[in-house]
Assembly symmetry: C2
Homo-oligomer: 263 residues x 2
């Protein structure tokens, strides 16, 4: 896997490996389709120590895709695109990634072979053959479901938009990613309002500056409260901050309830 | 409403008004929270003739928020942010928008009054009072649910991340937006594979260059096929293209089934 992009280190000297997701498709921006890929990729990247820093949803417009791919691939260690690699006229991600890298679009012989073995004789027409097109120098990403592969070009991973196929391809490549320090999280909920816990919470964040503490109100029927999520690479520090947070909640008359999530 | 940003016109002389959504929050990029606001805003904007061109999901980092707000507000007619306007330390959207506009953050007297009337005596502490902070010159956006308002600064609308509150505030402002030509859509499904319809579909798109035709495969249990979505501002042209598409599908041996969506 490409790791040419310089990584940075955080205060605790934990290696940070970053990623950006580009969701390509008019159907997301028209509201027709609810994206399901971002949250999946966010969790899947976190599992292997890759931190999702940004996501962009962009239209099927060539110059937009080319410019956005180039901006993202220089800024982040890894880029994952979803959408636009099917056989129809609105599928333009592959030629755009070739343009972004300044290389020609070619028919990959192995991708062609995969499609030939998948379709009945005669069904691999010109349109379907477009699914074998990749930028010159790209590596195929196996698709265990419908054979039309994704591909990797430099630090850019080009995936389909259909969630079940995207997940299958990502599952095959996930553990080949070179992650950095893994981020663990713990979460504590209580029936206190955010405004009641805000002050001691800010003090806790200042005391545990190496962790990231987020506060999220919840509303369930007549019930409301706050969920606090603590994230960081050092599990001992996380445990210490979690205990301190529970003490804060009890001092305010609340009852902390922990839902631990280890990834 | 601000309409200072220059609008453009498409080939058919229909006025195009554009928007960008900025989803602010670590919880979306960690995969903890599935965003529900983007699809809602996309549909709601389309209803009033505003076209969502881009969405970005960004971290709770001040310099990132400031830079992204500034880029988006100069590029698009309207910008909608979600998230980061609560009372806790990780809620930094309001000061960032003030920074982006180069104005001080002030306590809005009407927002303060709203909060004072909402909370029991003594409960409006320093943290909650942060929810009355807006950039100088901002206009409040009424919140019919929990009183803490959103605000408009120039062409930027600052909304909360909690979906039910975001929706209520957007509902109050939606019909004050100055939209352009409304985009209508029609959709036709058939049991043909995308690869089978790709060639005549590309020809149809070339013939109806003023419309946007998207192709989306579907998979339902043993069933699969393609949904074609046609979008455009001219309903007569849409109707004409829809009939032409149905003829294409029938010529390929398929059975078109229309699900019309008028917005």
């Amino acid at each position: 896997m490409s790791d040419a992009h310089p990584s940075t280190y955080d205060g605790g000297n934990a290696k940070i490996v970053t990623a950006c997701v580009l969701i390509i498709g008019n159907e997301i921006l028209s509201g027709r389709t609810q994206d399901e890929n971002l949250a999946f990729l966010a969790k899947g990247l976190n599992e292997v120590g890759v931190r999702l820093r940004e996501a962009r949803v962009i239209l099927d417009i060539a110059e937009t895709i080319v410019a956005t791919v180039n901006e993202a691939r220089h800024k982040y260690d890894y880029v994952f695109t979803t959408g636009g690699i099917g056989p129809t006229h609105d599928d333009i991600t592959s030629p755009c990634v070739a343009d972004a890298f300044g290389v020609p679009l070619i028919i990959h012989p192995e991708a062609r072979r995969l499609l030939e073995s998948h379709y009945p004789p005669g069904a691999l027409n010109e349109a379907r053959l477009r699914m074998a097109q990749v930028p010159e120098g790209a590596t195929l990403l196996p698709n265990p479901i419908s054979r039309a592969p994704g591909f990797q070009m430099g630090n850019v991973f080009v995936l389909p938009g259909v969630p079940q196929i995207m997940r299958a391809i990502f599952g095959e490549l996930q553990h080949r990613l070179k992650g950095g320090a893994k981020v663990y999280s713990r979460s504590v909920s209580c029936a206190l309002g955010e405004g009641n816990i805000a002050k001691p919470l800010a003090e806790l964040q200042a005391r545990f500056a190496d962790l990231d503490i987020g506060s999220y109100p919840y509303f369930r029927r007549a019930d409301f409260g706050t969920t606090l999520v603590l994230r960081g690479t050092d599990r001992d520090r996380l445990a210490e901050a979690t205990e301190a947070l529970k003490t804060v909640i009890r001092e305010l008359g609340g009852e902390p309830s922990e839902g631990m999530s280890e990834d």
